[in-house]
Amino acid sequence: MSREAEVLIVGSGPSAVHAALPLVEAGVAVTMLDVGNQDERYAPLIPDLPFAELRRSDPDQHRYLLGDDLEALPLGSARVGAQLTPPRSHVLRDVAGLTPLVSATFRASESLALGGLGAAWGASAVQYDGRDLAGLPITGADLAPHYEAVAAGIGISGARDDLLRYYGECASLAPPLEVDPGVVRLMERYALGRERVNRRGLYLGHPRLAVLSRDHDGRSAQSYHDLDFYSDRGGSVWRPSLTVERLLGRASFSYQRPWLVERFDEHPDTAAIVVRARDPGSGEAAEFRARRLLLAAGTLGTARIVLRSLGLYDTPRPLVSNPHVYVPCLQPGWIGRPLASRRHSLTQAGLIFDPPGGDGVAIYGEVHVYGSLLLFKLVRESSFPVPQALRIVRELLSAFVILVLEHPDEPAPEKSCMLRRAGSGGKDELHVDHREPASALRLRRRTESALLRSMRRLGCFPLGRIDAGAGSSIHYAGTFPMSADEGPLSVDRSCKLRGTRGVYLCDGSFLPRLPAKPLTLTLMANARRVACGLLREVR
């Protein structure tokens, strides 16, 4: 099998679809290659009812709450990604077998799903500023029009509050989502003590989310059914599959699945790039040809393809990933209060810790409530007998919030990945080593303690700290960093891989370091920037 396009895009995640969009809208023939796993089992089972009502009425709820294969039932230690409920389990399906990763220190999550990891993302959509892009040959001004275009397309809600200077201005910003009453109380306490906690570097406000607070572009506003971890009905939360659907309406776009891209070769005599892929089910091989190739298979997936294509086995590449911890907290003043009947499952409030005299944002945080997840997961963490733990958890639930904290990550010799050649008949393995130097670990704990001291002043008391381990943030970058210098295995400011004629890296690969803030919106904006540059080139 052999097919031709002007531009090939590998992957269908947030970056891939935003690279495709401007090209397809300009009439460029784009083929998207993807494994494209989807949930074919659970979505039709989930009624369009508020979570509490569904729990009282649907006899089949165990199927999507626990999973037909009991996917929601790891009974051991806490797992990464609470939002990966059974209806989202397809997001990680087949990864271990098709793209093996070996590590004793890194818990990676990769996806072969339609929409990639964006099929289950938490929808936090904040911009990088000049400080976050320091050292790169692109600036905030280069990304600004693309942030606006992406935001206008996907629909972003939020507020112009204390976090505006960290999240960035957004002309199309829709009003913020409704907030859980317990978190409203936290925000009220923040408003009362703002000056004091700001002096210590803590800023709190509405989150910036790619979730609709009003109808937009054929999608419905948030229904407040608290089913965001289970169902995408109405399309309130932006998922890449929504954009793929839109692209499929254009004649110049072709979505090809199920293809796992293995390698590319640039033909020495012609301008063509040949991409070799395999159907993971049948094993059938195929070749696709194009003048340009945009790799957006996720930082780790793209690293596999590039290193294999260039024959660079056993060659370490840098890898960064935001350190990520959960801090369950209690607001004693909110014990015994009713839960809101209208709720959503995503971030309720955002926080930034930017201590005076520091080197930029030290911690990016999100405040979550424990809504549509089952209580047995909390009971499991308790040291009380099960019935007592259940009753205590029920009583405390309205006062319970979970802080999700993310730190910046810098490259270091202890943080790398390398591709190892497979034995006969096996798959190449990506080996990852990611260890935090002790000094960085100590600094991280000190910064967290300072932040949590300020949270206590707001009546929010930490109950513990769960470090889910390196890689658990699901934010990966740094493998082929963008630089102005002509170094090997790097990309230039157009994200073209040096040493190639037409291979562009459109995911996190190009970011040499990760600021504390989540990267997804920046990856989308950058992918659009790359595609717009490419458009000028191919036209």
Partner: protein, 144 residues
Amino acid sequence: MSDTSIAREVAAGLDDEGRLFSRYLVGRDAPPGLLRRYAEAVERLALVPRARPDAALLRFVRRHPSSLPLLDAAVAVVRRESVLRARLLLMLALLEATVDQADDFLPRPRGRASAVARVALEAAIGACKTAGGLLILPLATRGR
């Protein structure tokens, strides 16, 4: 006794065990469909004892159902990875995802004072059970 025969012995009687756990957790018998799902889940998740003390603990609970509250409390502290605790949590999850038991799991607002008192009471009960459970745990895990 070989590992296989331990597993076979403990796998028998999952219906009775499921019923016992359901009564303990929510004060009611689980319906037959849920008991069947419990047995299937135990098998699918391979929640069988791998070590002699674990098997002995399960046998002890089946023979002396009144010891369950104490031993549950003890394994929540000192044998958190035990099969007894895993199976209790499994039954809890299955019960939670049913219509009949939904109200046992959904939050119920009450006044702050009442909620705080309830938490204190449950914590005190839990502590007492733990103390009692830790006393009998060596006996229960000794087995024959």
